[in-house]
């Protein structure tokens, strides 16, 4: 672990807390699914928590974030209340979107989490638009968009990063390269050694960091955020990481070679970062245990509240197709 000295112990702890909550939330949901306590779908980010920790520290509360279906950790990072995340995952009315959006479509603009998308690559152009709005509104807020390695193969990715580079917009593109797009390894879908090389094709800086290390990931993202805030334009940050639960909850991951999984597990950020933290003079085992306990408890309360809430009622289901119910048009 690098550069840990550049952060205060409270910064480090706060990253760890975000990571713990993210992990606890996902594991709790997976447990509920496996035991038959409830039915839903999630695309777990388990293993990618370091990126969430980094984002939580790098972004200001008024900065914006766009994420994907694999975004529960990012939602936690941006401060979306756990009950809103859990509720949305379970499809109940306490969800961020009253249960209508679902796991893939969580939005919480109060926390700056402007959109989660289920369409790979499509978050990037929208993020560019958020950044454009900041310029119009003369705000110095920054937009971060996170997405996977596979997303960089989409036309949307290219159109968005090119536009952002051309217009020098205050946006940071964070690729969470977990080495797989669904069941396909990254090297089968691109001929470049690093996803960050994509940046060269549009004229912006591209940086590759160890995405299992919250500290170096934070420093890279933070640098890009500062650059964006200073009006110097966008950056592509590639955080190389891994996902331990496969593409979706229940994925048997037969397509992942055993050695690769084993090797990846050695770099599980929840374990390695904990070790790093313990080597910090001001951080004790008790302190970390307290963070973990708090995370577990908050998650438990959130999931119980989410479970207890009703599904959206008929009136709610009919709402929000338009600003007002259409009066004309016998649709």
């Amino acid at each position: 672990m690098s550069d840990i000295a550049q952060l205060t112990s409270s910064q480090l702890s706060s990253m760890y807390e975000v990571m713990c909550k993210s992990q606890a939330l996902e594991l709790r949901i997976l447990k509920g699914m496996r035991s038959g306590e409830f039915a839903t779908i999630i695309w777990p980010a388990r293993g990618q928590e370091a990126v969430a920790g980094a984002l939580s520290l790098a972004l200001r509360p008024d900065d914006r974030l766009i994420t994907t279906y694999r975004g529960l950790h990012d939602h936690v990072a941006k401060g979306v209340p756990l009950v809103e995340i859990a509720g949305e995952v379970l499809g109940t009315s306490v969800g961020a979107c009253k249960g209508k959006g679902g796991t893939m479509h969580i939005a919480a603009p109060e926390q700056g989490l402007m959109m989660s998308t289920g369409i790979v690559g499509s978050g990037l152009p929208v993020g560019v638009g958020l950044a454009l709005a900041a310029r119009f509104q003369k705000s110095d807020r920054v937009t971060a968009v996170t997405f996977g390695d596979g997303a960089t193969n989409t036309g949307s990715f290219h159109e968005a990063v090119n536009l952002a580079a051309t217009w020098k917009l205050p946006v940071v593109f964070v690729c969470q390269n977990n080495l797989y797009a669904e069941m396909t390894p990254v090297e089968e879908t691109m001929a470049i050694p690093h996803v960050a090389d994509r940046a060269k094709g549009v004229g912006m800086p591209g940086i590759t960091v160890d995405g299992n290390d919250p500290v170096s990931t934070y420093l890279a993202i933070r640098g890009a955020v500062d650059r964006a805030r200073a009006g110097e334009g966008p950056t592509l940050v590639e955080a190389v990481t891994f996902r331990f639960e496969g593409h979706y909850a229940g994925d048997q991951m037969k397509y992942i070679p055993a050695e690769q999984l084993e090797e990846a597990k050695k770099h599980d950020p929840m374990i390695t970062f904990r070790e790093t933290l313990l080597s910090h003079p001001e951080i004790t085992e008790e302190h970390l245990a307290a963070i973990e306990a708090r995370a577990a408890q908050e998650v438990d309360e959130a999931v119980e509240a989410a479970k207890a809430a009703p599904q959206p009622d008929a009136a709610e289901i009919e709402r929000d197709v338009y600003a007002e119910r259409l009066v004309a048009g016998n649709v």
């Binding site: 209508k100 959109m115 560019v128 536009l163 004309a328």
Partner: protein, 330 residues
């Protein structure tokens, strides 16, 4: 106050008013800023007047154009994105259909995307199959969108302003063949035509021609020709396809008891099928004859002069009306 203006001028005037009266409004699209101001010169002068930072030339990136509009709209901006020729809209389909149209619903109203997408139908230019399509039917089928297609300068101005300030995403269609069409246009700020209100462009007792966009003019021409033969057609210009002003349509057909639906889109699977179905479901017992639809033939559109062999012409409307009303009256 009102003056004679072309539809091109009316759209320009609406964009100008929107830019002038709201700091939330901005335009983006390919080549639309001065000095070029677009292939159709619709946006002429707007960048000079309101600044190149509010009238933005983009790269050729339809997905990013609409996607950036969606993003900006989530922050309260009112972007007006141009799709230079409607046939290119496929490239932006994901942003329009999966994002703009659904973000309000999927976020339970926490985020909204009040964008306006201006899409230009080039039919009539002879440019061929990929530069001539009228694809409004795709968007009518998507909950969350509104679809507007005006036929006169006043409607174009009033509806474009309504679209820009509407809280929902609007596909605003323009027919390049109508850009030069002249007519009265209110000049005072604040003039609006409400979205979702059809307009009876001609009164008639014998049959209703339900239409919109450029076909309105062929319908009016057909009505004149038919009048000479003793058939008085009422012409209902829908102006908005979604929401659809059924009330006005049904009031007219309840009176005439016969209807033809005419548009430039391909007939099969097109907007006319919805309109005809709605009329029939509502007025089955009043109808003397089944509703007949006319539109483009089921073919890609050939280039140059051959285009006319496939696309809607006044004669098609006349023939359809005679089929429905002819036997009775002539």
């Amino acid at each position: 106050m009102s003056k004679k203006a072309t539809i091109r001028e009316a759209i320009n005037s609406a964009l100008d008013e929107a830019l002038r009266t709201s700091a939330q409004v901005f335009l983006l699209g390919e080549d639309l800023a001065d000095p070029a101001a677009g292939v159709n010169a619709v946006t002429r002068g707007l960048a000079l007047e309101h600044g190149h930072d509010r009238v933005l030339n983009t790269p050729i990136s339809e997905a990013a154009i609409v996607g950036a509009a969606v993003g900006a709209s989530l922050e309260g901006m009112l972007p007006v994105a141009e799709i230079m020729i409607m046939d290119f809209i496929g490239i932006a389909m994901d942003q329009i259909v999966n994002h703009a149209a659904k973000l309000r619903y999927m976020s339970a109203g926490r985020t909204t995307s009040p964008i306006t997408v201006r899409a230009v139908v080039l039919e009539g230019s002879g440019a061929g199959g990929t530069h001539s399509q009228s694809l409004e039917g795709w968007f009518m089928h998507i909950p969350g969108l509104k679809v507007v297609y005006p036929s006169t300068p006043a409607d174009a101005k009033g509806l474009l302003l309504s679209s820009i300030f509407d809280p929902d995403p609007v596909l605003f269609m323009e027919a390049s063949r109508l850009y030069g069409k002249r007519g009265p246009m209110p000049t005072e700020d604040g003039f609006r035509i409400p979205i979702g209100k059809a307009d009876v462009k001609r009164q008639g007792r014998d049959i209703t021609i339900v239409t919109y966009g450029p076909a309105t003019w062929e319908a009016l021409e057909a009505a004149e020709a038919l009048s000479a033969e003793g058939i008085e057609a009422e012409v209902v210009d829908l102006r908005t396809l979604l929401p659809l002003d059924l009330e006005t349509v049904l009031a007219s057909v309840a009176k005439t008891r016969r209807a033809v639906v005419a548009h430039h889109a391909v007939t099969f699977g097109g907007p006319g099928a919805e309109v005809a179905s709605q009329i029939t479901e509502a007025l089955f017992n009043e109808l003397v004859e089944p509703v007949v639809r006319v539109g483009a033939k089921f073919s890609p559109i050939p280039a140059r002069a051959s285009e006319a062999a496939v696309t809607l012409g006044t004669g098609d409307i006349v023939a359809a009306v005679k089929k429905v009303a002819g036997a009775v009256r002539v």
